[in-house]
């Protein structure tokens, strides 16, 4: 940040043989020295350890180069050293805001390979917790995006709800972030007494408070001025990058695994999807907010449908996936999570590839940033929702 060479660059007069002369290049623009600004890996805007190197002309970005890997913990290698029960305690940590969905993916792919029938009640409860997890995740992003735009209060509001929901999920699973509630073939435990009543109450409470966010953030004039038309992502570019989740839905592509490739019991409930028009920061954020609302809508339906019965099946003495490869895709809060599980018939996977949504979403950032102002970069970085652990794994 403060080495001498950069100083010479930013103080043109101090470098030997350099004049402070501005060259006029048509249309009254000045030719200025380009400057390289390295944001991160520990910068407030990057929520986590994500680094992005910007080439600047004035405050305009001419090129952006994300540098990732600061949170690379080698999940895919570690998974090869753990058996199928231990993996779920590992994978729920890569996207630390959607622990339940992550472990759900592993459970589903192993069940798929074992061709196992999971009890109905377990599937419905999985859906319930997954949707609550989605609400938790999105609330976090509502707060952090507003924080990046300079509004501090939505974060506190979002955590007010988050805390309540975390207490609810803790009652069932024993965890606040990493639930480890799934098992191959079902769930660890049944729901505790009173869970449903509390869930009903909380769903209503959150729905009542949701308009606060719509007013405080989405309806705010300054918020709109900062986000409308900023960083539009055309649908064909988004698909080519493999962008999914709210970022893709904002571009107007109706792609949501819960609808187009239903897993669990999503084909038995009504899953609305909000679509944006321009794919700009505003649309991305609006999609996120509507996803909260629709998740609560799904939760309400689950309350009505939850059947009785066992929540897990009796497992063989040792879980061994048969030889072969399977792919399971689920709709994680941030986009599509895919697990490619390849097994050689042993007790640990031969290869577990995690196709994480953030990795693909973040790839589109250089495309979005080119030609933008630095403050817009913040708006884009905040609205292409990502979790650093989900990028780097």
């Amino acid at each position: 940040m403060s080495d001498l060479s950069t100083r010479e660059k930013i103080h043109p007069g101090t470098a030997p043989g350099e004049d402070i002369a501005l060259e006029i290049v048509g249309d009254g623009d000045f030719a200025t020295t380009d400057m390289t600004l390295s944001i991160g890996p520990a910068h407030p805007a990057t929520h986590g350890v994500f680094r992005i190197v910007l080439e600047l002309n004035g405050e305009r970005i001419t090129a952006a180069r994300p540098v990732i890997g600061y949170m690379h913990r080698g999940f895919e290698k570690l998974a090869e050293y753990r058996d199928f029960r231990q993996i779920k305690a590992l994978v729920n940590r890569h996207d630390w805001l959607s622990g339940f969905s992550n472990e759900l993916g592993v459970a589903l792919v192993v069940e798929k390979m074992l061709e196992m029938e999971v009890p109905d009640r377990a599937q419905w409860i999985r859906m319930l917790i997954a949707e609550w997890n989605r609400v938790l995740n999105h609330l976090m992003f509502v707060g952090s995006f507003a924080l990046e735009l300079g509004a501090i209060t939505p974060m506190f509001y979002a955590f007010r709800e988050r805390d309540e929901i975390q207490y609810l999920l803790e009652a069932a699973t024993g965890g606040r972030l990493h639930f480890t509630y799934n098992q191959v073939g079902g769930l660890k435990l049944d729901l505790p007494k009173g869970f449903l009543a509390e869930s009903v109450r909380l769903s209503k409470l959150t729905q009542e408070r949701l308009p606060d966010y719509f007013d405080l953030v989405l309806g705010n004039e300054i918020f709109q001025a900062r986000t409308v038309g900023v960083g539009p992502l055309p649908p064909e570019v988004a698909l080519s990058f493999g962008v999914t989740g709210p970022t893709l839905q904002a571009a107007g592509v109706p792609e949501d695994s819960r609808v187009t490739e239903p897993y669990l019991k999503y084909d038995e409930v009504d899953v609305p999807v909000h679509l944006g028009e321009n794919g700009d920061s505003f649309d991305r954020f609006a999609c996120l907010l509507y996803r909260i609302q629709y998740s609560l809508h799904i939760i309400d339906q689950i309350h009505d449908h939850l059947p009785a019965g066992p929540v897990n099946t009796k497992l063989p003495k040792m879980v061994k996936a048969p030889e072969g490869a399977a792919y399971q895709r689920i709709e994680n809060p941030l986009g599509q999570l895919g697990y490619w599980l390849e097994s050689d018939g042993g007790r640990t996977p031969w290869r577990l590839k995690m196709r994480t949504p953030s990795f693909s979403n973040v790839q589109s950032i250089p495309y979005l940033l080119e030609g933008m102002l630095v403050p817009d970069a913040i708006s884009v970085l905040g609205s292409v929702f990502f979790v650093v652990g989900d990028i780097d794994r």
Partner: protein
Amino acid sequence: MAGVLARRDRALNPEETEALLREHLGEQVLGSVVEFGTFTCKLAPEGWVEAARLARDEPQLAYDLFDSLFGVDAREEGFDVVAVLYSTSTGNRLVLRTRVPGGRDAPRLASITEIYRGADWMERETYDMFGVVFDGHPGLEPRILTVENFEGWPLRKDFHLASRAAKPWPGVKEPAELDEDGNVIERVPEIGDAPGPYELDKAMAAQAKAVIEQERVEREERERKAAERAAKAAERQARKEAKARAAAEAAAAKAAAAEADADQQPASSDEEDGA
């Protein structure tokens, strides 16, 4: 949403997809398999780029969503590279798989970054993890995930974890550890057999819902009563006003009558004047 699902009727099934690919690629399609619901097409490395291009551009295939690309260790024979593609219009998934030429020593494959933008980082990651070099890629270095000066290719099976070599598993049991007699230690499946406190749960949820419903009913009742009161008040007011108006009218009429009586003469005289 319904529109998307409707378009799926035109989607090709695995056999038709393979036939279509064979038609264009000929011998480079080595075979295909449907495993656990996923259609995998095995390709010769020479047909790798062309297959990806077909998958994207052929209108009947239209695999527009680039899902992922990664490597798999194929033991002595080197490495496989797998690409997962998805079509948002047909809802189909296609897995392309090829064995990278060059064995374990110098694996090289053509890059598909020209076709799918998302392949850029995926190929960098595959290079970082397996050491597979992609020809035509804009820049595999610096290593994307590991430290710049990292030595070795972590996801190859011959890369061993140093910590594990130095220290045994710190947990109580190794993954699926055996007991003294050589039997697998059995997990006690006691939870799944019980149906769970479902009825109580359901009752409590119903109660919670009833409370919410009750509140709603009460609120509506209050609102209705308030509206009724308001309506009654309005009615009273209206009646009062009507009475007042009637009284005023009566008074006015009386006054008018009196006035008329008084003005009878001048008025008629006016008329006479007008006439």
